[in-house]
Subunit: 162 residues, 2 copies
């Protein structure tokens, strides 16, 4: 049996239309809390320590706000417009906390095509209850040429909780 | 010999003054590229595959733009104002690519204190050559009460490159 090769394909500036939408989803597990703390350096215990988090207004561990931001960037980089995009600007409004096992869906909508391949996109992140957790806008340079890429396989990451 | 316990202390709304600055630094290694791809889902090969990246305008692997955003959020959450802050808004302008072994420094500056503990901060990220890579502004609710916290120790994370 052959290995399945996953590919992803971009949407060029010429193909994009105002009103086009695309989505991208991820679930928050303890792994994301640890990995995001490690990669950003934000080791605030509200994300890491269940006992500490129980004494905060959130009552339990919550995601780093910028984890939702990273999902928006992943949606832009891998789905719409996808590979070959250049990220120029992002605004983020953090509306609600994200809790363990919440499944977030990023929805991107093309708001406007500007000269020089610039595209403005509305970015909304909802949880599994349909509540808005983050909103914002992104400005990118959309790719001018079609690309179909193999998805790189990530090395195995092991978290040793001891 | 006792274990060293690292602590971090917040800066309350009353303590913050317009013009106050604080900084936070990190270096981009291959680990950050893999971990950020894993935690965000952005597996674009420009961040992961040296051969692919060589054929892009960047000529080599670059950081996920939102990794710089995550450093800004870490600076806000752990340094100024630090623990107890609530993240409301962030704007990001991505100015230059970040390459392997670049050391980034986030500099935060208090631009304005608003009613209801709101604080507006200027966020600048420079590389080791003093070039601006990201700029933006953050709005947070600063903590009203002093907190001195132990820094949680992260579990050991192993990346198996096989």
């Amino acid at each position: 049996m052959g290995k399945t090769v996953e590919t992803f394909e971009n949407i060029t500036y010429n193909e994009l239309q105002e009103g086009d939408t695309a989505s991208f989803g991820r679930t928050l597990t303890e792994d994301e809390l640890v990995l995001f703390a490690a990669v950003s350096g934000d080791v605030n215990p509200v994300h890491l320590d269940p006992e500490f988090a129980a004494g905060t207004p959130f009552k339990e561990r919550i995601a780093h706000g910028m984890w939702s931001g990273s999902l928006i960037s992943a949606a832009l980089a891998t789905v719409m417009p996808g590979p070959g995009s250049v990220y120029l600007e992002q605004s983020l409004n953090f509306r609600r906390p994200v809790k363990l096992n919440d499944t977030l869906t990023v929805t991107l909508t093309v708001l406007r095509k500007d000269p020089k391949d610039r595209v403005l996109l509305k970015c909304e992140v909802h949880n599994q209850d349909g509540k808005m957790v983050v909103t914002g806008e992104a400005k990118v340079i959309a790719p001018s040429e079609k690309q179909v890429l193999e998805k790189p396989r990530l090395p195995k990451i092991t978290i040793d909780r001891g």
